[in-house]
């Protein structure tokens, strides 16, 4: 009996810990949202975060998109040539990029860049008492620090995914036309034909979720950091790992629901 009870006990403990974490994150997110709708607002902070999350991530996002699009075109061509289906290259590139690779890769890249930076910055502010100082200076850290980050990520990530989609399709086009001898006009026509508004909407919905999780994980773990430099390090790792998992999990759920 003993090992069986121990087994169930350990499952129970994991479950309780997980539920506790979900509860704490939910409380954190709803506190931020309920405070964000009431003044004071911080438009300058929002702009600053839009620059940080969006503008400064563009080089990374652009490179990710172009490399992935190019590789995808080559792979599709190689696989398709075995059964005379190389003409599917433009269709698979455009759908693969817009529906899956664009949002997921951008989400993961930006999570690596942004969630970690947010967790490190807020975590340092926590352990050096700067967050307490904000409160004693009559400024709400949720409105001043968290809300601008969440809102900026919600706006910036979908925009970046649109840009990445365009660059990714261009990467595929580039390889197809200049290396695999596709007809340029024909390639673009097929691309246009397979690209639907629904796919773009889906990409935007996914990326809005990803943006929310990226900022939420960065802020939550930074905000709750404790225990000096080591604590900030832990918070940064936790932020990136949990953002990755939430992105991949939500991507799977949305895909299964939408296309299932």
């Amino acid at each position: 009996m003993q090992p069986i009870i121990a087994f169930f006990a350990s499952i129970g403990r994991v479950l309780i810990t997980a539920l506790g974490a979900i509860g704490r994150v939910t409380v954190f997110a709803s506190t931020t949202l309920s405070r964000a709708v009431r003044p004071p607002y911080y438009p300058a902070r929002l702009f600053e975060q839009l620059m940080q999350i969006g503008w400064f991530s563009l080089p990374v996002v652009g490179m990710t998109a172009i490399f992935s699009g190019a590789a995808l075109a080559q792979q599709t061509f190689t696989a398709g040539s075995r059964f005379n289906a190389t003409s599917t290259v433009p269709a698979i590139v455009v759908l693969g990029i817009v529906r899956e690779l664009g949002p997921v890769l951008v989400g993961l890249m930006v999570a690596g860049r942004v969630s970690s930076a947010m967790a490190a910055e807020l975590g340092t502010m926590r352990v050096t008492e700067q967050l307490d100082a904000l409160t004693t200076l009559r400024t709400d850290p949720y409105r001043y620090l968290i809300a601008p980050r969440l809102i900026a990520a919600l706006i910036a990530i979908p925009l970046m995914v649109l840009i990445a989609n365009a660059i990714g399709i261009f990467g595929g086009y580039f390889v197809a036309v200049y290396k695999l001898d596709f007809n340029a006009i024909g390639y673009l026509q097929t691309t246009r034909q397979f690209l639907t508004a629904t796919d773009l909407q889906m990409a935007l919905v996914k990326s809005a979720f990803f943006g929310f999780f990226i900022a939420l994980m960065g802020c939550y773990h930074g905000f709750k950091a404790q225990g000096g430099a080591a604590g900030v390090g832990r918070a940064t790792t936790d932020a990136v790992v949990s953002a990755f998992i939430l992105i991949l999990l939500s991507n799977m759920i949305i895909t299964l629901v939408a296309f299932g």
């Binding site: 307490d132 409160t135 004693t136 200076l137 009559r138 001043y144």
Partner: protein
């Protein structure tokens, strides 16, 4: 009654898990008084301070400031009540992304950029009050020495003219001369601005200089309160051991 006490703590308790950090703290601080709380590291001094500031909610007890109980207030009322408080943090806690002048005027602008010329003037005035020069207005906190950071943090705490200022180990990490500069500033502020001051420290030289009255916190309770002059003949074994810094005694 001529004047009721500015701050009253009545049976304040706070536990983290099974660790009872505050176990029924009773304390009274008069208007315009400088009270110093002494006690070992980990005796709950910081937690007590954070409870009064409303950064931590106590589990039980009352914290009355001007007769209003902060412990049972809504978040919004607490925000309003905090306008009376200024706080000097142990590590200064300056915002390292902002220049000195925006740090000093933070409570007035709440982090927004407005009325820059006027704010720079206010920052200069407050920096002068703590003996610093307007030359540092545009520097970042990391470009200053620890002692100067402390003084900037003090200027930031007094800029909105609070009625009560809390000092968390104001002299820790400073050399004895710099520490004494801070002590002088605290004495000056209490006298000139008429503020009520609550300081926590384990620096006895500092306590002797800035306190009107001293209270000792031990194992989550106030074990002794008395005027500064009685600190060295308190007749209390805990206080005796602490002020003389002996390893043997009732405190282990």
């Amino acid at each position: 009654m001529a004047s009721e006490p500015k701050i009253i703590l009545n049976d304040v308790g706070k536990a983290f898990g099974s660790n009872r950090v505050l176990d029924g703290v009773d304390l009274m601080i008069e208007r315009g008084e400088s009270m110093v709380i002494i006690g070992q590291s980990g005796s709950g001094k910081s937690v007590m301070l954070k409870c009064i500031l409303g950064l931590i909610r106590p589990d039980r007890g009352e914290i009355r400031v001007d007769g209003e109980d902060l412990a049972s207030m809504s978040t919004r009322d607490l925000e309003r009540a905090r306008a009376k408080f200024g706080m000097l943090f142990q590590g200064s806690a300056l915002f390292d992304s902002l220049p000195i002048w925006r740090n000093v005027t933070f409570a007035l602008t709440q982090g927004r950029m407005r009325d820059a010329a006027n704010m720079r003037r206010i920052a200069t005035e407050n920096l002068e009050r703590v003996g610093l020069d307007a030359k540092i207005l545009d520097l970042r906190p990391s470009e200053l020495s620890g002692g100067m950071q402390k003084r900037v943090a003090l200027a930031r705490a007094i800029a909105p003219r609070p009625e009560i200022i809390f000092f968390d180990e104001p002299t820790t990490g400073l050399d004895p001369i710099r520490a004494d500069v801070i002590n002088d500033l605290i004495v000056e502020l209490v006298e000139e601005l008429g503020v009520t001051a609550l300081t926590i420290t384990h620096d006895m030289a500092s306590a002797r200089k800035i306190a009107h009255r001293v209270a000792m916190l031990y194992q989550g309770r106030i074990v002794w309160t008395g005027p500064r002059d009685r600190l060295y003949d308190s007749g209390n074994p805990y206080v005796d051991q602490f002020v003389q810094g002996r390893a043997e005694g009732p405190i282990t």
